[in-house]
């Protein structure tokens, strides 16, 4: 790479290739009072990229509630922290790795996991679970088959080696994600509050330590790459994808946790080198503490010869962290990391003034005020326009003439079919705390040494968001809460990944602003502050944006392990209740997708207050010990929810509903299926009153029987039906 002179950069407008606009370049000049050199231009391009600066989403993110009585740390750090009592806290965050996954799915997904894990242990927490949220094109597409296989392999290989159970996630398929899949990874950690860390480098004279793997040329410009759309005209940017080494990260994690837990007195701050690598970690640590920094790039451990400052600062090589260590204790840190066969090298010092200075080969190669990199990025709002499609009317009502056939066809739909072949490629049990493994509404992890447990889930239904971003945003949060509640938990907070198209497209900006508004309102209702998250814009390919996909990662607290509830019917003769009312909600539904090939029409039937009231009833019934199983209704509606409830124990059911056969597949929100012991009928009904209807019973006979008010009958055998559900996806992905 040739370093152009400041005037060449200006004349040839090199900054445009790096994602800095004309105006942004001018404001850099104004702040510096001179032309930025090659390295400095690179620093600003990275730090002011959407990925690092949130310049297009900041005003929208302000809508999110981020405070609450349990919240110890909101957004702005490696991850947020929520108090769970007894001196312990849960730490979690999610991050998108969509573009790397589209280009090189194995490494893209693996390093997505690696990055989010570092965010968690940088806070002083031990990672206890990983989740993900994956959206791909249709499984019939050959490249999609490859992407799914490699993405799953990448997630599994990284998490399995780290010894962090992958306990949950979602996987859906829609053509809108064909060129630009969504790969979001979430990590949850457990923290002894006294060990809590922040990423700040305070105190002049304190030492800046680089720890972990060496720096190479991989992932250079990763943050910039993540902030641009794909197109066939531009070559794919393979060099922008990083390569992961989970073993190195495991050693690095153990070393960092040892340092934090046993030598907190010598550690001032710690931060992951994630997006925009060395520059973002160091500049943010300095700016946050209000100090400057001097780094000697000759000391940075390097994997390749002849790297220029631009490359060293913007490389996104994995498995690296930056520490601020108290003056005089460098040797101790080096010895500690050496025990883990991980490298620790002092590369700089904290300075009293607030300038950010980089040296290489004895020469000053960059000198900028640290806050200009971190805090002075421009903030944009864009024109917003409601997408035309939202005016389209579609009075679609599914045609169901043979309930058995429709049911079987629905179970083969890739979004509904069992994902067990995927989940089984993840170690979901290591650490021996997994009480509820993947496949239920939410995963549940015990908090060892207490009677508590944590429920966790990831959710987004991009189809609803496509038809109505505002209500879809509310639903994303509500559905996550519904999953937590059905598992016996009380929602305590969320993280999010906002995966959208290009913000300067007015329709995309409408989606983004409406979805976040809806999410914010729902978070307020459920008292689930947003404690961390990430924004991934420019998810477009050849000018077509993905469906708006704000992934919600939610954690719930279960105070008593006896409250843990799973989706499966457990005993013959238990009563089956449907909680919530069912309407004609077919737009955006799985059955619309199946019968019409795509989704369309208006989507309007959703009410947050009803949602909250229904969830509260479920919580009350569970906490009263009256609920044997609980399952929230989602894709495929009541019919699919019922059959999913029998697969584990291979029981049957006999159900009669005051609904049409079509309505069995309606996706009206805010509904649950609950099973209750006959002896608890009166006590249960006393709580739910007319909000739940008794619709049938679990049977020992393995027949799945439903009769409808329009005189249709379903009668399937559980074994045969389970086989269809279990094997369909694997066949489609072959």
């Amino acid at each position: 790479m040739k370093e152009l002179s400041p005037t060449e950069i200006k004349d040839e407008k090199l900054y445009l290739d790096w994602g800095l606009s004309e105006q942004e370049y001018e404001s850099v000049q104004r702040m510096l009072g001179r032309l930025p050199n090659f390295t400095e231009t690179g620093l600003f391009a990275a730090m002011w990229s959407e990925h690092c600066s949130y310049k297009s989403s900041k005003p929208l993110l302000k809508q999110f509630p981020s405070k609450g009585k349990r919240i110890l740390q909101g957004p702005g750090e490696g991850a947020g922290i929520i108090d769970i009592g007894d001196g312990q806290a849960v730490v979690f965050k999610a991050e998108s790795h969509n573009h790397p996954t589209a280009v090189e799915p194995y490494q893209g997904a693996a390093t997505g996991v690696g990055g989010i894990v570092r965010d968690i242990f940088s806070m002083g927490a031990r990672p206890i679970a990983s989740l993900n949220s994956l959206h791909f094109g249709e499984p019939t597409d050959p490249r999609t088959k490859f992407l799914v296989d490699q993405t799953v392999a990448g997630i599994g290989d990284y998490g399995n080696c780290m010894g962090i159970p992958t306990v949950g996630g979602e996987l859906t398929f829609d053509d809108a994600f064909k060129q630009n899949p969504v790969m979001n990874a979430m990590c949850v950690g457990l923290l002894d509050v006294e060990n809590s860390q922040i990423g700040a480098a305070a105190g002049a004279g304190n030492l800046i330590y680089y720890v972990g793997a060496k720096t190479g040329r991989d992932g250079i410009q990763g943050a910039i790459f993540a902030s641009a759309e794909f197109s066939d005209e531009k070559e794919t940017q393979r060099s922008a994808v990083q390569v992961g080494d989970p073993f190195a990260e495991k050693q690095l994690m153990e070393a960092c946790l040892d340092l934090i837990q046993n030598h907190a007195d010598i550690l001032v701050g710690i931060q992951d080198m994630g997006a925009a690598g060395l520059v973002s970690s160091s500049a943010e640590m300095g700016a946050k503490a209000g100090y400057g920094m001097e780094l000697n790039l000759d000391l940075v451990p390097q994997r390749e010869a002849g790297m220029i400052p631009y490359e060293l600062m913007l490389s996104e090589s994995q498995e690296r962290m930056l520490l601020c260590v108290k003056k005089g204790y460098g040797k101790q840190v080096e010895e500690l990391f050496d025990r883990y066969e991980s490298e620790a090298v002092q590369i700089g010092v904290v300075t009293e003034d607030t300038s950010y200075k980089l040296y290489q080969h004895g020469k000053l190669v960059a000198d900028v005020p640290v806050h200009t990199l971190v805090d002075e990025a421009p903030v944009y709002t864009y024109e917003s326009k409601m997408p035309e499609r939202m005016n389209e009317v579609n009075n679609f009502v599914p045609e169901v003439t043979n309930l058995n056939e429709t049911m079987e066809a629905m179970l083969k739909q890739p979004t509904i079919a069992s994902k067990h072949e995927i989940f089984e490629r993840y170690d979901s049990m290591v650490q021996t705390n997994t009480i509820v493994a993947p496949g239920s509404d939410a995963a549940v992890i015990r908090v060892r040494g207490t009677n508590k447990a944590l429920a966790m889930t990831t959710d987004a239904n991009p189809r609803y968001l496509y038809l109505n971003p505002y209500l879809g945003g509310q639903i994303a949060v509500s559905e996550a809460a519904r999953n937590i509640v059905a598992s016996g938990g009380v929602p305590i907070g969320i993280t999010d990944c906002l995966n959208f198209g290009k913000p300067n497209d007015p329709e995309v900006y409408y989606e983004l602003s409406q979805a976040t508004k809806g999410m914010a309102e729902a978070c307020t209702i459920f008292d689930t502050p947003v404690i961390s998250g990430n924004v991934s814009l420019y998810n477009e390919s050849n000018k077509k944006a993905i469906y708006p996909t704000p992934m919600v990662g939610m954690v719930g607290l279960i105070e008593k392990q006896s409250d843990i509830t799973t989706i499966d019917f457990k005993n013959a003769d238990d009563l089956i209740y449907l909680l919530g009312t069912t309407g004609n909600d077919y737009n955006g539904s799985e059955i619309q997708k199946m019968q019409e090939g795509t989704i369309s029409g208006q989507f309007e039937n959703f009410d947050l207050a009803t949602e909250k009231a229904n969830q509260d009833l479920v919580t009350k019934a569970i906490q009263a010990g009256l609920v044997v199983s609980a399952h929230d209704l989602a894709e495929g509606g009541l019919a699919v929810g019922l059959v999913e409830s029998v697969f584990k124990h291979e029981l049957g059911f006999a159900v009669a509903v005051d609904l049409t056969a079509a309505e069995l597949f309606s996706e009206t929100q805010s509904r649950f299926i609950l099973s209750v012991k006959p002896a608890n009928k009166a006590a249960f009904e006393e709580i739910v009153k007319e909000n739940a209807q008794l619709i049938g019973q679990v049977t020992a006979e393995q027949d799945l029987k439903i009769s409808t008010k329009d005189h249709q009958e379903m009668n399937l055998n559980v074994g045969a039906t389970k086989t269809i559900w279990k094997e369909s996806l694997a066949w489609q992905l072959k």
Binding site: A153, C161, G163, P246, F247, E424, M429, V430, T432
Partner: protein
């Protein structure tokens, strides 16, 4: 009574064993670093945990076997001490020559994690004498390289000496003769791919594994 858990760089199931033995069996358990050259003098049993020692780079277990502590483990085994290697521990024991055969990539080439029904083929060992003969037990598996292989001659010997301890009922990985776990000729070294420590508490979905640890605790080798 002291159980020693060997911890290698990249081990990740060592705490699962530690907490289980401490909390469910009240057994004093210590970690022994791979750089040590001797075991604690009062160690009564050695456990080699699952995980990815050295990242499974080169070949699972291939680097760990050169760790300084392995000489002490060999000596302990040769003197009749109880040694169990679970998952990566099994891989290390075969690489170290304490058990015959090798573990290859699963036939599907994919990592597999799920509960797996096993048959107890030999209930006469110090690890399995609390199980009924041919009893079915369910232990989770979680491995990418669990496909047991040995040549015909070795297999004949394993059978002849009754060294095959656990077999899969629904072979998930392509192992020869459905082998899930074997002992050495003397019967004091057990290697198995499935994880009994993940099936030893009701809250985790099964307790079949608990009897394996109880049998070890009750054994003469540990009591003496």
């Amino acid at each position: 009574m002291k159980f020693a858990i060997i911890s290698f760089p990249g081990s990740n199931c060592e705490y699962d064993l530690f907490y289980l033995l401490r909390d469910e069996f009240q057994i004093e358990t210590v970690f022994v670093d791979y750089r040590e050259t001797s075991l604690p003098a009062d160690a009564k049993a050695v456990l080699i945990p699952g995980g990815f020692s050295y990242g499974d780079y080169l070949r699972s277990g291939a680097i760990a076997r050169f760790s300084p502590i392995m000489e002490a483990v060999k000596e302990f085994a040769n003197n009749g001490g109880l040694v169990i290697g679970i998952c990566n521990g099994f891989q290390i024991l075969t690489e170290a020559g304490l058990l015959p055969g090798a573990l290859r990539h699963n036939e599907s080439l994919n990592f597999i994690c799920k509960p797996e029904p096993l048959a107890v083929k030999n209930n006469q060992t110090s690890f399995t004498n609390l199980y009924d003969d041919s009893e079915t037990v369910v232990f989770p598996i979680a491995h990418g390289e669990g496909n047991y292989y040995c040549d015909e001659e070795t297999l004949a010997k394993l059978k002849q000496n009754n060294q095959i301890v656990f077999t899969y009922q629904d072979n998930p990985n392509g192992s020869v003769e459905d082998i899930a776990g074997i002992v050495n000729e003397a019967g004091n070294v057990l290697g198995m791919m499935p994880h009994p420590e993940r099936a030893s508490e009701a809250i985790l979905g099964g307790i079949d594994g608990a009897r394996l640890f109880q049998a070890m605790i009750d054994s003469q080798a540990v009591k003496n």
